[in-house]
């Protein structure tokens, strides 16, 4: 699976890339939303993970632009964020993401969760 990860926090980015690669996936990281969108448009990804609180372009704005791009519209987009208050969860649920994972993430199950979001169980 080819996964793009967008997070402004380099340690968190490092962790997610490390886990994905350790489980045999091809992972690419970006430190901001604008670069993330460009990379998503150029590459051929199976899933995109994005942080919510980022300077310049936040995850909500990222999701809006992402969904507006015809080439990306159907690509699984998953929020991975330390915003974990119930009101945050509600807002994220209605902002066009296919999945939501709260930080701190659970290292043992993280990659399996991503795989589940990327290839939703058939009908």
């Amino acid at each position: 699976m080819r996964v793009l990860v967008v997070d402004d926090n380099s340690t968190n980015l490092d962790l997610m890339l490390y886990l994905l690669r350790a489980f045999g996936h091809d992972a690419t990281g970006c430190a901001d939303g604008a670069t993330g969108l460009e990379t998503a448009l150029r590459g051929d990804f199976d899933a995109v993970l994005v942080d919510i609180l980022m300077p310049t372009m936040d995850g909500y704005e990222f999701a809006r632009r992402f969904r507006a791009a015809p080439a990306l519209r159907a690509l699984p987009l998953i929020a991975v964020t330390a915003l974990a208050m119930p009101s945050d969860r509600e807002r994220i649920a209605s902002a066009g993401f296919d999945g939501y994972i709260a930080k701190p993430l659970e290292p043992r199950t993280f990659v399996a969760q991503i795989e589940g979001f990327a290839r939703p169980a058939g009908p």
Binding site: A22, A82, L83, P107
Partner: protein
């Protein structure tokens, strides 16, 4: 309708019993000493009579006012419209407040103006109908209203700031914990390479301490939200059976790992309470979690039963275990913040000591009560009693 000025014995219903002059010569003390300024105006808008409060409020002697157009008491910028409004009133004289929704002002002799509230009433006397205006100085009330509005705005700002603070705090604390828990996890999964037993032991301590810290953060933020009134509650019909089943489902593996039987009793699909689902779930989850944690062998049961508390229908959710139990003298301390009874550090570190405190706070929010009973060495029972209606 209007004022039929009485004098001595009750007057006939439509029989005005006084003349204006009789009124003016203070045979009607209620008018003279009324707390509002009262100004009697004739059909041409000429002041015919004022009371003592009018003198105090506007700074004129009554001799200066009687015979003057009433507009002498009206600020210059609204005089013209006042003349028109007066004609309007004359065509339909009723008892009513004047200029509802308008900011009315009075003009003092010294040229200063002040906010007023005015009610109008036709007054019938033997020599004709007049209009009485009762005028109240609302300077203080207006100032008070402004202050109140400012205070409210300030409170709202403070409350929003606190909200924002809690949200940022949650986010900022979780971010470094993500790295700690995450990389401890990758090491324990031996993704970078095999671990020596002592390395594993120490990393497991890091991991459980980080999990403990995360639990503390979650509980403390929850409490902060409850205490600042920020915990959002949604009262809706909630099937008690669903909540119990969800809790039993979530903690089934934990019970199984300790070889405990986890039972539910009296669960039906009819018992529905109007309550906040999240709060109820959180309370029951905490109680069952404790029951499993403080029980080494035997069973944990969750029993649902309908009760009447006073004249209100309620439901009781009892969580009983066959665990270590609680000393009678400790029962009252349980619900305090950071209160943990077991002195051995292993058990203490499995919890935060905030669980029951949080439960009690949540219970109060949804109008429920929690009680504990126990026999040391043979088990405990925690009972949540919840009204079916709000």
């Amino acid at each position: 309708m209007g004022w039929h000025v009485p004098c001595g014995e009750p007057p006939g219903v439509d029989q005005p019993s006084l003349t204006l002059d009789e009124l003016a010569t203070s045979r009607f003390p209620l008018l003279e000493y009324a707390p509002d300024a009262i100004v009697l105006v004739d059909d041409r808008g000429v002041i015919r009579l004022v009371n003592a409060q009018t003198e105090r409020l506007f700074g004129y002697y009554r001799e200066e006012l009687v015979g003057q157009p009433v507009e002498i008491l009206v600020p210059h910028d609204t005089r013209a419209s006042h003349v028109a409004d007066r004609a309007d009133y004359a065509s339909d004289p009723r008892v009513r407040p004047m200029g509802v929704g308008l900011d009315l002002h009075g003009l003092r002799k010294d040229g200063t103006s002040f906010p007023v509230e005015i009610s109008l009433s036709p007054v019938e006397t033997r020599d004709g109908t007049y209009v009485a205006a009762a005028i109240r100085d609302v300077t203080e009330r207006k100032a008070f209203e402004v202050r109140l509005r400012e205070l409210n705005a300030e409170l709202e700002r403070a409350s929003r700031a606190k909200d924002q603070f809690l949200a940022s705090m949650s986010h900022e604390l979780r971010t470094p914990l993500n790295a700690i828990i995450g990389f401890t996890g990758t090491l324990l999964m031996e993704l970078p390479g095999p671990l020596a037993p002592e390395q594993r032991r120490q990393l497991e301590i890091v991991q459980s301490s980080a999990q403990h810290l995360l639990a503390l953060i979650t509980d403390i933020l929850d409490l902060a939200k409850i205490e600042s009134g920020k915990r959002e509650l949604t009262f809706e019909p909630v099937r008690i059976g669903e909540v119990v089943a969800a809790v039993a489902g979530a903690l089934g593996t934990m019970a199984a790992a300790k070889r405990l039987t986890l039972r539910t009793v009296g669960v039906d699909s009819e018992t529905v309470a109007i309550t906040d689902r999240r709060a109820l779930h959180q309370i029951v989850l905490n109680l069952v979690n404790n029951a499993i944690k403080y029980t080494d062998a035997g069973s944990v049961s969750i029993a649902v039963e309908r009760v009447a508390t006073g004249d209100r229908a309620g439901v009781r959710i009892g969580v009983a275990d066959t665990g270590i139990g609680i000393k009678a003298e400790d029962l009252s301390r349980l619900f305090r913040a950071f209160e943990q009874l077991d002195p051995s550090s292993t058990r203490r570190h499995e919890g935060t000591g905030l669980g029951l405190y949080l439960c009690r706070n949540l219970a109060t929010l949804i109008g429920a009560t929690i009680e504990a009973s126990s026999t040391l060495g043979s088990g405990s029972r925690f009972t949540l009693t919840l009204p079916l209606e709000r």
